[in-house]
């Protein structure tokens, strides 16, 4: 593999189908060279993507029907890196307003963004008019 390989998914913003993102990720990583702990990498990235897409469905598209989520996976050979770009056209939000969970107190919510940041090497979010953009990067 010399050039970055990229794969795109366009799926309904529906919790029912977010498993498709993980399945696609798994298939890509299975055929990727240089992955040490395949199961661990897959689980961690899939969880981060699941949390991100769930936030898009539940917040960006809250109260809306027919929303779509666009996911692009890009594999770079040197250094070994997976970049996932997630775009939606829903309501933007401000991640700085999301409080870190208090891990010493059991709580119902608030772990999603925390997990995304802990499991990925870089996380950026850019709101935009009709184009919100998450970028999650994992080196392996």
């Amino acid at each position: 593999m010399n050039l970055p390989d990229s794969f795109q998914l366009d799926l309904p913003a529906d919790l029912r189908y977010l498993n498709v993102v993980g399945a696609c990720l798994g298939a890509i990583l299975e055929r990727t060279e240089g992955v040490g702990d395949l199961a661990g990498l897959r689980y961690n990235v899939e969880l981060a993507l699941q949390e991100t897409c769930t936030n898009v469905v539940e917040h960006a598209y809250a109260g809306q029907e027919g929303g779509r989520i666009h996911v692009q996976f890009t594999l770079s050979p040197t250094p070994h890196r997976l970049t996932v770009d997630i775009r939606d056209t829903g309501r933007p939000f401000n991640p700085d307003l999301v409080a870190e969970p208090d891990l010493d107190t059991v709580q119902y919510r608030g772990y999603g963004l925390f997990l995304i940041k802990e499991l990925m090497d870089q996380v950026t979010y850019e709101p935009g008019p009709a184009n919100n953009h998450w970028q999650l990067v994992k080196n392996f």
Binding site: N19, G22, A39, E51, Y108, G112, E118
Partner: protein
Amino acid sequence: MKLTVREHVVRIVVIAPEERVDAFSTAALRARFDEFLAQGVSKFVVDLCRTPFLDSAGMAALVSLLKSARLAGGDVKLVWPKEEAAQRTLRLTKFDRVFEMSDTADLALERF
């Protein structure tokens, strides 16, 4: 012989999700928890050994069950998932400090 006999039965329910527990499937899991709670069950073992995936929505369902169980005088104990990355997630969120963790369902049952 005149005897007075009283049976004291402790009901502990062991629930082992065998499919991914995520924001979509969590509703079904919560519904099962609620059924047992409505029957008066307050002691649970949730065996994650064969659960292939657990996201924060699934974790929220476990917290909800824990709070309900404790209100009823019971508790919820967890069995570690098999996948190391899944175990790490529980450690990262300190769930392993909130819930008593065991390696098997039998060990979890013994701890009640």
